[in-house]
């Protein structure tokens, strides 16, 4: 506002919502989230532990600590699946995205169709699809490669990732000003040269934040595999709960699992925002 740039006495306009807009918005950091959840869990835990100690059962927190190694094991599988699905999705998705900007109409059309189809179908349905319709082993020559459930569901997860990466590539290429293509053409560069040396290097930078965002989405989608019977963190939580058979464990246990994912995903979300701010070219 111009009014604030003078040292003369000025009548400042009445500002609505001044407190909200003038000050730097308060940042909700990872540690606030962890502290909040931990406080909640501890509060519940202590309350319940007090009640339980009288009857002679182990306290909530003790039980949770006892099962932590197992939960971590399950969570490691979640992370492994997310890495693998992201890798497959990116490796297949980038060429698919490039096919979407191909000059040949059949290639362009078919890759557009594949992208839209997998982007618009629910993850869980794709998971069921892969789980039930892929064979449990594949025979390549004489070697039999077994396809365990977690691998099949990873393939299922990588399909929507592939479609989203494809869409990212297309969007990023389209976001590069068309003048760059023309400039490259005037330097007698071929289409391939332009794409590889001018356009794509710029796209990588633009694509990184949304790509990380996609990874976070994929990570929180991995518990879906528990529905089709992969024993990852979610399934294990259910198993732990049924083996303990104590209803008062339900809330702390699920909160604990949510906390696992939160601690993993929140830094990614923050880093994405930081990168977005840094790469913003205006």
């Amino acid at each position: 506002m111009i009014v604030s740039r003078t040292d003369l006495a000025v009548l400042k306009p009445f500002r609505l919502g001044a407190a909200a807009t003038s000050s730097e918005p308060w940042r909700f950091t990872l540690w606030h989230g962890v502290a909040l959840l931990a406080a909640l869990a501890v509060a519940i835990g202590i309350g319940e532990a007090q009640a339980q100690a009288a009857i002679g059962k182990p306290g909530i927190i003790e039980t949770m600590i006892k099962w932590t190694p197992l939960l971590l094991q399950g969570f490691a599988l979640n992370i492994a699946m997310s890495f693998l699905a992201m890798a497959i999705g990116t490796v297949v998705g980038v060429p698919l995205g490039l096919a979407q900007i191909s000059l040949l109409p059949p290639i362009r059309g078919s890759s557009w169709f594949v992208t839209q189809f997998f982007r618009n179908s629910p993850w869980l349905v794709l998971l069921f699809y892969c789980m039930l319709l892929l064979p449990f082993e594949v025979r390549i020559g004489d070697t039999v490669v077994p396809l365990p459930g977690w691998l099949k569901s990873t393939i299922g997860l990588s399909l929507p990732v592939m479609a989203n990466v494809s869409e990212l590539v297309r969007g990023a290429v389209r976001s590069i000003p068309y003048t760059q293509w023309e400039a490259a053409e005037s330097l007698a560069m071929t289409r391939r040269q332009t794409l590889w040396m001018i356009i794509l290097p710029q796209c990588v930078k633009r694509m990184t934040p949304p790509w990380m965002n996609l990874y976070a989405i994929l990570t929180v989608a991995t518990p879906l595999t528990s529905v089709v019977g992969v024993s990852e963190a979610m399934t294990l939580t259910g198993d732990i709960l049924s083996s303990e058979g104590r209803t008062e464990l339900l809330v702390p246990m699920y909160l604990y699992l949510l906390l696992f994912f939160f601690i993993y995903c929140y830094p990614i979300a923050r880093a994405t925002i930081a990168l977005e701010k840094r790469f913003q070219v205006r």
Partner: protein
């Protein structure tokens, strides 16, 4: 209208090619699948509306002067955005649901909140968390001068928000909102996990009974992709209808 020739065609299709689409010629399966479809559509409808309402209210609260309110909204957004929706659903349904039970006269304990309602609540809050951010970004994109102009005309914060800022912000956030709502429609399938009889759940029952997994899977994919297609089309039409000529870029 009499559809029986059409149904018979599918029966012949099964006899001749082995493609077993029982949902067309078997009246029980047809009834089941149609109900599942309706449940899915109802769940989607409820969640779409509720999540947009949550988004609008949340974005308004985020501009509030009360720090506590902003803090709580931020916490809500970050929690729902960074944790798996399926675990949230389990948390709501199994953990919180276990406390919300009443014992009826004959000694049975009945949950107060049905699984459909839990799914609707959970999914609305999940998508709502994204909508708050989307609307907030839209509100921030409305030029500051517009707010000042509204102030100078004597609008209160609520009135300025409702009549000036929101209509503009809504138009700016529509493309992002589209994306999120498509995501929501796809996410409704997780209601399967708590046995809401929606389309995926019913399809699972049918393919268990009739052992026609590939056919049902393809039917499911086609139905979901078309539902999303309808949503994208409607939202696209709406976006064009709401466009203020000369205001929005492109």
């Amino acid at each position: 209208m009499d559809f029986s020739p059409l149904w018979d065609w599918f029966r012949v299709l099964h006899a001749t090619s082995g493609i077993k689409l029982t949902i067309f010629y078997d009246s029980f399966d047809r009834w089941r699948f149609f109900n599942g479809f309706l449940t899915s559509v109802r769940l989607m409808g409820v969640c779409l509306v509720a999540s947009v309402v949550i988004g609008v209210v949340g974005a308004w609260i985020q501009g509030s002067r009360l720090r506590v309110l902003r803090l709580v909204t931020q916490g809500y957004i970050q929690f729902f955005r960074n944790t798996p929706p399926l675990v949230q659903l389990y948390f709501f349904y199994f953990a919180l649901g276990s406390y919300l039970k009443v014992t009826t006269g004959n000694g049975m304990s009945v949950p107060i909140v049905s699984n459909f309602t839990w799914a609707a609540i959970c999914l609305s809050f999940y998508a709502g968390a994204f909508n708050v951010e989307i609307f907030r970004a839209g509100i921030e994109a409305v030029p500051r001068e517009t707010m000042e102009a509204a102030e100078s005309l004597g609008y209160s914060r609520l009135k300025a928000y409702a009549y000036v800022i929101l209509p503009l912000a809504f138009r700016i956030s529509l493309p992002a909102l589209n994306n999120n709502l498509v995501n929501l429609v796809k996410t409704t399938t997780i209601a399967y996990a708590i046995a809401v009889p929606e389309m995926l759940y019913v399809a699972n029952q049918i393919w268990s009974d009739e052992s026609n997994v590939p056919e049902m899977m393809n039917v499911l994919l086609i139905v979901y992709v078309s539902l999303v297609g309808v949503l994208v089309y409607v939202m696209g039409r709406w976006e064009r209808a709401l466009r203020v000529p000369g205001y929005m870029p492109a």
